[in-house]
């Protein structure tokens, strides 16, 4: 099968703060300058590159805010986040854990550095990815998939090259941890120096990767270092990565939903009317209620 080529390698854009707890580089949609369609169904990717937070008596984070029409996927590499939502749910996303929240018809939630982590301070590194929902599922009931590190299936690479942890989708015929509404593959590849991993995704899928740690070479040609984001083309299926040093790489590939995207702040719908409805429902309290204090 044909090789899937690298289209662009992006250095991390200038970081900005989300609330006071997340110092993020936005790769999708701003970093790629191609809007929300280019990586459909992945419509937003904020990357908090490894950042040291000083100890703080008051946990840093983002206060109560709503979401509707998509899923938020939080992947914790370093540090931990506590979250609460309007349905009474809550928990802690610790190192290696993934929280897959289907906001769908709407939730209110807040996310803060976990209390102990806040008090002690420390290194913090996270990804938040938004996965769009097709029109038929946008108003379905919200749900959570809290996936702890040990619940994420891992496939060992041949010759002790490392392993691939499957957050969603499938790799080498093994299935990932999360259920998705449309076909989505999301992996963390942990490679030892010199280790190689091969991937194959359909031509029509939108594919990208983020080097979270270390550095890699893609298709024996393109060197990519820590915190860089790689966009692949839509010709060819196969690519492989080789670690120049021990590396952690987030790999994403998904079938585009190919529907109209209208986004305003925390709402992602199919048309303007639905956005106005979302504002109205939020103002009217239809997303429920959540206290702003931690």
């Amino acid at each position: 099968m044909a090789i899937k080529n690298v289209v662009s390698v992006m250095a991390p854009p200038e970081p900005h703060f989300v609330g006071d707890g997340f110092r993020v580089h936005n790769f999708i949609p701003q970093g790629s300058r191609t809007g929300m369609y280019r990586m459909d169904p992945f419509i937003m990717l904020d990357y908090n590159s490894a950042h040291y937070f000083e100890p703080s008596a008051t946990p840093r984070g983002v206060g109560v805010h709503p979401h509707r029409g998509f899923e938020t996927v939080t992947i914790a590499y370093k540090g931990s986040v506590a979250h609460h939502d309007s349905s009474g749910g809550g928990g802690v996303i610790g190192e290696g854990d993934v929280q897959w929240m289907t906001a769908a018809s709407g939730v209110l939630h807040k996310e803060y550095h976990e209390e102990q982590f806040s008090k002690e301070g420390g290194w913090f590194q996270m990804v938040q990815l938004w996965v769009n929902l097709p029109a038929r599922d946008k108003m379905s009931a919200p749900k959570y998939q809290s996936i702890t590190k040990d619940q994420i299936p891992r496939v060992a690479l041949p010759d002790g090259h490392g392993e691939v942890a499957m957050i969603a989708g499938a790799y080498m015929d093994s299935k990932g941890a999360a259920d998705t509404f449309t076909p989505v593959h999301l992996y963390n590849a942990f490679l030892h120096k010199g280790g190689r991993a091969d991937f194959s995704f359909p031509v029509s899928y939108n594919t990208a990767l983020l080097v979270v740690e270390g550095s890699i070479v893609i298709n024996d040609a393109e060197t990519v270092t820590t915190d860089h984001f790689v966009l692949f083309g839509n010709a060819g299926e196969d690519f492989h990565i080789t670690a120049s040093e021990d590396a952690v790489v987030l790999i994403m590939s998904g079938e585009p939903i190919k529907e109209n995207i209208v986004a305003h702040g925390p709402f992602v719908m199919n048309n303007q009317q639905e956005i106005l409805q979302a504002f109205d429902d939020y103002n009217q309290g239809k997303f429920g209620y959540l206290e702003d204090q931690v």
């Binding site: 805010h65 504002f279 939020y282 103002n283 309290g285 239809k286 997303f287 429920g288 209620y289 206290e291």
Partner: protein, 198 residues
């Protein structure tokens, strides 16, 4: 940036030659205001009417105890001006501050007067804007005197559908003339009512 929401606003609302509108707009100064910066401070004389192209402004006073009282939020497409200061040439009692990084068109207060003198349809339009503004203020006075916190809140979300997501609730409470705790209670009550209905 060449696009102007002000031009779009005027061309779609005033029965006036687009060329004349363009000529007037072209000379106006468009400025970028960083979050937290001021367009007007207490004691200054207000020289302009501000039209918000992008972003969000707040128009407020600060009382003797240092408490802030918000008269108006001005998101995209809104005008804000201290009329007392601008038209009666008096030092302002108010502040106009950017709540978000904003782009603002500064309209010399004489411009509307001169446009009105030369153009009948603009005069009519300006008159309508003024009446609309008075209606808004009258409604606001009435709500502050007689309405419950919930009624004031419902009016607020009708006028400013997306502001709850853009400003802290303490500022919304300040606009409504209620405590943040009352606002929180109103929102909680509404949410409970909505859930019971479903």
């Amino acid at each position: 940036m060449n696009s102007s929401n002000l031009k779009t606003f005027l061309t779609s609302n005033v029965d006036m030659d687009e060329q004349i509108i363009r000529e007037h707009i072209e000379n106006l100064k468009k400025i970028q205001v960083k979050k937290g910066n001021f367009l007007l401070r207490q004691g200054d004389v207000c020289k302009h009417s501000f039209f918000v192209e992008e972003g969000l402004l707040k128009y407020y006073s600060i009382d003797e105890k240092g408490k802030q009282h918000i008269l108006q939020f001005a998101p995209e497409g809104w005008f804000v001006v201290d009329r007392e200061s601008a038209f009666f040439n008096q030092p302002s009692q108010y502040f106009i501050e950017a709540l978000e990084d904003s782009v603002v068109t500064m309209i010399d207060v004489d411009m509307f007067a001169s446009l009105s003198l030369h153009n009948q349809s603009f005069a009519l339009f300006n008159n309508k804007l003024l009446h609309n503004h008075i209606r808004h203020l009258q409604n606001r006075i009435n709500l502050l005197l007689s309405a419950t916190a919930e009624e004031r809140y419902l009016d607020f979300i009708r006028i400013y559908p997306d502001l709850l997501l853009r400003v802290p609730q303490t500022l919304v409470a300040s606009y409504l003339g209620i405590t943040p705790e009352s606002l929180s209670r109103v929102r909680k009550d509404l949410a409970t009512k909505k859930h019971q209905k479903q």
